[in-house]
Symmetry: C2
Subunit: 704 residues, 2 copies
């Protein structure tokens, strides 16, 4: 469900700013295999017109590009599009989850049961939800860079941040729209993205989760697939349906084998510019740590929620995100374990560094960046185990205690000497987080903390000071029980009192606060050392981003930044499982997979689908695959023909696509979409919602 | 189609006989992981009763074992079983191909159109087809060994062969049945297998090939799968249906998830006793050579037959066998490229050799065998490229010429100095082959020979004497054209004249004969050297077989020898493609896969199946998977419950099972069968053959 949601940590604006780079050189010629490795997430200010013409004979004019851009919108963590003259917005079921739950009446869970408005007046307002429409892009690299004049790193970051804030503020003032400065190429370029925000969205139609997410976690990230992962919303303005100037028309035929298809959407983040040393560190250190942590979370949640229906509902989202992340990261890591992928990276890096070596100006500026990163990562490896455990992990209450203890200590230091999370606005953000009311489930906290301590005990030496402080000679279970029972930090009023000043924290005899006071000095040195090395990596990654842009201009599309991209691809099956995966699945296949698991979850069909079986032409396409370049954030992207008509709706990639995070390939990696005919067929035959299907297909209102 | 046919070269009787070994030692305890690696192809004279009891609580008595053995029969290259009181025999469609074609009337191809007898009187006699029923097994190891008294290898082989012939003859004389001495453990043990032969088989029912082999070559060796790979025959005696004392009753429910299932059948050949050096040689030398040769054959046949319907029919079988072999060998080789599989082999070999080293008697007798094999393989690697090309390959006509030239030359030598194929009975076998009338397609011969020469030219140095003799400065195409046009060896009368004596061959100016005279002396030294090394490998492989039997007795099931085995397994899905493969497929899935390829071949449904759709309960199981241990030769094996009832019909393994040839595993390797309910459902609903379904289900004849 969350499979193509954008990561919440965007690449945007995270890196440290650097001095103005040389003006982009004439793009050098790169071997085709390297170009392909950078994929096809093209920005709208640098569409690859020559490549499209050569490859597909496709020559869109500016009007085509403007039209599809304006018909596309962005949800807070997904993509979407206008698909009717009356402001219907199409996205995935898993992108509108919060709204579907929020608008459910007390006696019905629309998440499970689905929702279909019987007319416009029946549509349900999604409080707090909005979509952003990209109105313009402007290169502001020199405006940002000209403001960075300091020498010290901290000063330069502050100058960059204030330059960005000023540009954004000015834009917002002048236009009244939502403005965002985005960095591309790890800081190699800055662009001002201006959005029109539509803040009134209403739920029109959402299928039952068991069909939207048919196959559940097992089938997640796979193909052949049989999901109707769809939600239809409508934008309102002044309580009337918005009539967008640009919306995507519906294709009656939908996607066919071999068709050219464009995906317009907002991929969240890729790592195609990462150095070899960064990839090795991900593979050997970061991903294994994340996978182990997610596996613990999944095991605890399954054990805790498995037997109890109420708990199952309460934690199914959380379990879901953990399973989804575990499967995704396993796939990313599998890519990094693939010798072919790593060899491609290696060859590119060697070639790229040779080019930098050959140009004296570039060499002076950039040549040292790779070794600097490799050196930092090598040092980080030396204490990676401690760095992983030396915090306040395993319990939300312990995390609160950690922040409460650190807030006065870090606030007393000059900004540049603080731990990174406490710098600048961070201090206030953390304080606000601690003071936010959140439900705490003490039983779950105990299990989570015990699992955390147990894992920690297996990885750290028995004499480790942090471990000793945490366990105090007790078993993980006993320690967790004592800590959770010995704290009142679950009460926001208690946290508020402790957040008022250092004295209260110093005096507290709350078990978690006492513990956090002991842990804080032990862990700080490790955290500070790690932060210093992360800063080295980040600063040098930005240098490499500049170098690649300096050397090749926009010949290579930049890494994903949750900004609007257009990706070209073909509808195409692929070799799989010793045979061939078809380019599309069918309703037959849906009923087949359900029957073949004897109609058990997560392959159990909703009653509505069982009842509709006889009415359906089972040969109708359901899902299909293309070679488009997508990643988390692309969920809900429209898939359109060269005529700009909707032929499908992106909702996932296959398992083979996950390594595309680092190197794009299309031999077996595929994007998975819902076929446009599946959507209208389901609306008419299963959901008795011909009026919506008519609207999508542009039939006159009279006929509705 | 041929996927589980037995290889024509059986392991039986091929190895050289050796001196009597020590009496089997008490079975040593092997780590469970090694035992598992030897799989579950149990012989009926050593059923693993303790293991079955411990693992499944299953304790069959002798009557159960006798019953299922006598209900099972063997076709010339497949397995089968009696499945009704009136002698119905169940096997695969691809096992009865020759009969189905032979009984087709001139205007109908039953292969394509299917055949269903409307009553017994409508059944069609399969000329030349028979089944063998295993009546008894007798250990004759000491009877064979006591006759081997010579010292020279050739004498020992002759003594062994005559001992075997005498035992077989005596058995046949005494019982009037078909007797066969089979070697197990590469010669570690000899057993007398006595069969009752039933020579009158008639075709009762065969579905259309497009449903029997739905998915064709792409889906071959894969799962999920949707094939009705079935043929029903009937045994007649004295023109009346045979009433077997033992036949398998039909299970109404068929296989369910988790069920214990036994496969009774005749696996053809495995290589679980091969040494590490033998496996490496297969992986690096033999398999790559075979794959390249098969790929050439496939490319030539596809190009030649692809455009012409008549040719397509003529060569579809041949193309089929080539594709099937290519896919199988690719899978075997993938296993050998798998580091985990090779590590298992290595660990077992190290452990085994250590045990042999520790026992002085065994050490003296066997310790040198592994190094002898490794040494021979190492030497073979040095001239493997020449050995591959130094023959009369690439053309049937050239092969004829080669034999005609060599026959008088080899006949003039003492038997032991001849090339192996010309020793003993080989001389007459080869002569008979050359004198057999066979159609020769000159256009295809030219293409095949040109492809062969082209590949040869890429692998051998330009100055190679054999290559120079073949090409004579011409391009492969020109040389092939000249050779094929310059020979009359396609005419059997010409071959007969040349086979009459050496003078005719020496005088011939036929282009192929002239060429063969030049090639014979060049290639003979290479062939002789290779043969000598193969003999070293074979003799030492037999020593290792003796060693394993001497060390462990029958604790480990012997390699497959196309003799009757009983394998235990469970009905069970498995992890696949990032998700889970269900334990069974459905008729829904059949229609799905056809629709998803837009009803194109090889996923095109026969008309009868299109018409029957509305009548079928599409949720009915079609195929299913189990963890049973099978390989080529098991095609047509019944899959039975612990009650001895038919729950399915083996027809294939999944792609993950192919490496089981060398090491058995059941994590993802699966046997694929047709579900018993699919058979009766299809008979009733698709083929209007309720009388056959009734007979299978044991309904009284009155009801039929």
């Amino acid at each position: 469900m969350a499979r193509l949601l954008a990561s919440l940590l965007l690449a945007c604006c995270a890196a440290t700013a650097r001095a103005q780079v040389a003006a982009p050189a004439a793009p050098a010629t790169l071997p085709a295999s390297y170009v392909e490795a950078f994929g096809t997430m093209w920005t709208f200010d640098a569409p690859p017109l020559d490549y499209w013409k050569a490859r597909y004979g496709f020559t869109p004019d500016a009007a085509w590009l403007d039209h599809v851009r304006l018909a596309s919108v962005r949800l807070p963590n997904c993509s979407a599009s206008f698909v009717s003259a009356d402001g219907l917005v199409m996205t995935n079921h898993h992108c509108a989850r919060a709204c579907i739950t929020a608008v459910s009446p007390p006696d019905t869970n629309y998440q499970r049961a689905g929702f279909v408005a019987r007319s416009m007046s029946d549509e349900k307002k999604c409080a707090g939800l909005y979509v952003d429409q990209l109105r313009s892009i402007e290169d502001v690299t020199s405006r940002v860079r000209s403001r960075i004049t300091g020498r010290a790193a901290a000063a330069r970051v502050a100058q960059r941040d204030s330059a960005i804030a000023e540009i954004q503020d000015a834009c917002q003032r002048e236009t009244g729209e939502t403005c965002q400065v985005v960095s591309f190429y790890q800081g190699g370029r800055y662009s001002l993205y201006r959005y029109r925000r539509y803040p009134d969205l209403r739920l029109v139609m959402a299928p039952e989760e068991p069909i939207a997410f048919f196959g559940g976690d097992p089938d997640n990230f796979t193909y052949p697939r049989y999901d109707l992962d769809l939600t239809l919303l409508r934008v309102y303005e002044n309580d009337a349906p918005h009539r967008p100037g640009d919306y995507l028309r519906w294709s009656a035929a939908g996607a066919s084998d071999g068709d050219l298809v464009f995906v317009i959407g907002n991929p969240g983040s890729t790592g195609r510019l990462l150095t070899y040393a960064q990839l090795e560190y991900l593979r050997d250190v970061e991903y294994p740590g994340q996978l182990a942590s997610l596996a613990r979370t999944i095991a605890v949640l399954e054990a805790y929620a498995g037997t109890d229906e109420q708990r199952r509902r309460q934690y199914e989202n959380q379990l879901f995100y953990a399973q989804n992340s575990h499967k995704a990261i396993s796939g990313y890591r599998r890519g990094l374990l693939d010798s072919t992928l790593m060899a491609t990276k290696h060859a590119f890096e060697r070639d790229f560094r040779r080019r930098i070596q050959r140009a004296p100006k570039l060499r002076a500026r950039y040549a040292g960046a790779w070794d600097a990163i490799a050196g930092a990562r090598a040092e980080q490896r030396r204490f990676a185990t401690r760095a992983r455990w030396y915090g306040f992990g395993g319990s939300q209450l312990l995390a609160f205690a950690g922040v409460l203890v650190r807030l006065p200590q870090e606030a007393a230091l000059p900004d540049s000497l603080r731990l990174p999370a406490y710098r600048g606005q961070g201090l206030e953000t953390l304080r606000a987080q601690v003071l936010r009311e959140v439900p705490v489930d003490k039983e779950l906290e105990k299990l989570t903390l015990a699992a955390h301590l147990d894992a920690m005990r297996k990885e750290l030496p028995a004499t480790d000071p942090l471990l000793t402080a945490l366990l105090g000679g007790r078993s993980p279970e006993v320690a967790a029980e004592a800590l959770i029972e010995g704290t009142t930090l679950g009460d926001v009023a208690v946290r508020r009192r402790l957040a008022e000043g250092g004295a209260a924290v110093r005096a507290s005899d709350d078990a978690m606060v006492v513990l956090a006071r002991r842990l804080a000095p032990i862990s700080r040195a490790v955290a500070a050392r790690n932060a210093r090395l992360e800063a080295v990596v980040s600063a040098n990654a930005e240098r490499i981003g500049e170098a690649i842009f300096a050397a090749y201009g926009s010949a290579l599309p930049p890494d994903a930044t949750f900004t609007l991209r257009v990706s070209d691809g073909l509808v195409r099956g692929y070799p799989y499982n010793g045979t061939v995966a078809p380019y599309r699945t069918s309703f037959y296949g849906l009923y087949a997979r359900s029957a073949e698991f004897d109609d058990t979850a997560p392959w159990q069909l909703p009653d509505r689908w069982k009842a509709a079986r006889e009415r359906l032409d089972l040969a109708t396409p359901l899902d299909f695959v293309t070679t488009n370049d997508i990643i988390g954030g692309n969920s809900g992207s429209p898939m359109i023909s060269r005529d700009g008509e909707v032929v499908g709706l992106v909702f996932d990639g296959n398992i083979e696509q996950l390594p595309n995070r680092f190197v794009f390939t299309d031999a077996v990696a595929r994007s998975v979409g819902v076929h446009s005919r599946a959507i209208t067929t389901a609306l008419r035959q299963v959901y008795d919602a011909a009026w919506i299907a008519d609207e999508l297909e542009g039939r006159p209102a009279a006929a509705r």
